[in-house]
Symmetry: C2
Subunit: 190 residues, 2 copies
């Protein structure tokens, strides 16, 4: 093994850039979130890590609902901004046009092309800096212009990415091939 | 709300493309994994969703260890291949050069530029198709050629992405700006 040891870092590269939404004291609040991943299909479930001291966490615990909003790359400045300021000091409720879905208390962002409405299944304290929150995706809401044949088209959605530690944002790049297809005929060296 | 309703789908876009490794019956086994995200910093923790019937799950439960390996885009064919065939039917132990770290039972892939060695903290059955597994990252191992000033450089790492449902792989694209900086001066419309 000739690799360099980097320590116990959180290094899944790349990170998706999303916006976490929750009602806090009956007002919508939003923060940038990269600690997020899908952990179940049918029904969709999402796991997030969210710093215990964050203003948003109080709202998630109050309502047991939250939203994950996927912004497009042209929203980069406002997305970064809401990761720079806390709802504790600044009212972020007027930054976006907000809508609600089936759960009634998970604020979602009209300007984001894709919004996931979630109810909390588990909140775990595993001794780290973050609350680990697992939610079920109750409904997904997508801009029609981001669909191709009624299916989400990532090249129309134009989400963006983050590289942690170097703290850089990147766009989606070139199409490389079809999943469950491009490697189908790969032959194992015997 | 003028959005199209897509149902309770697992739609965090994009998904990182990773390889999940575990020893099953004392032999290394690997599968492609996109249901993965960081859920804690310091120590790094990762949450994954892995179909209960997968061969790999048995090994994770047996040893309570696993690895997350970040492949570079030039590995796309073999990465897709190991998502097409199950370890139940095909021995995948000879596909990569394997190394072990501190835990001794989490097989990692020499050919991948970044490898995360993980021990299981929780395995949750939330009633879905997948086991939801949360692991602590015990150590990270990185190719020296992917570092800049001792820090992971995503443009050298060249990981790749996936878009679920349309099942397409994409490269990392253009650099868009610095996180916690590009939006710092965004002013809220009053």
């Amino acid at each position: 093994m000739k690799k360099t040891i980097l320590g116990n870092k959180s290094s899944i590269h790349p990170y998706p850039v999303t916006i976490l939404g929750a009602n806090v004291k009956a007002k919508p609040n939003f923060m940038t979130l990269a600690f997020v991943g899908i952990v179940n299909a049918n029904p969709g479930m999402v796991a997030i890590g969210c710093g215990k001291r964050h203003y948003t966490n109080a709202g998630i615990k109050e309502n047991m609902t939250f939203s994950i909003n996927i912004p497009s790359a042209d929203m980069i400045k406002i997305v970064d901004y809401i990761g720079c300021v806390t709802g504790n000091k600044e009212d972020k409720s007027g930054l976006f046009k907000v809508f609600y879905g089936k759960l009634g208390t998970a604020p979602m962002i009209e300007e984001c092309p894709l919004c996931l409405e979630c109810k909390v299944l588990k909140i775990l304290d595993l001794g780290g800096f973050d609350d680990v929150i697992i939610g079920e995706i109750i409904e997904s809401y997508c801009e029609e212009k981001c669909l191709t044949n009624d299916m989400l088209d990532i090249e129309k959605l134009k989400p963006f990415l983050m590289s942690m530690y170097e703290n850089k944002y990147f766009a989606i790049g070139d199409y490389l091939g079809k999943a469950w297809k491009i490697g189908m005929d790969y032959k194992q060296k015997k």
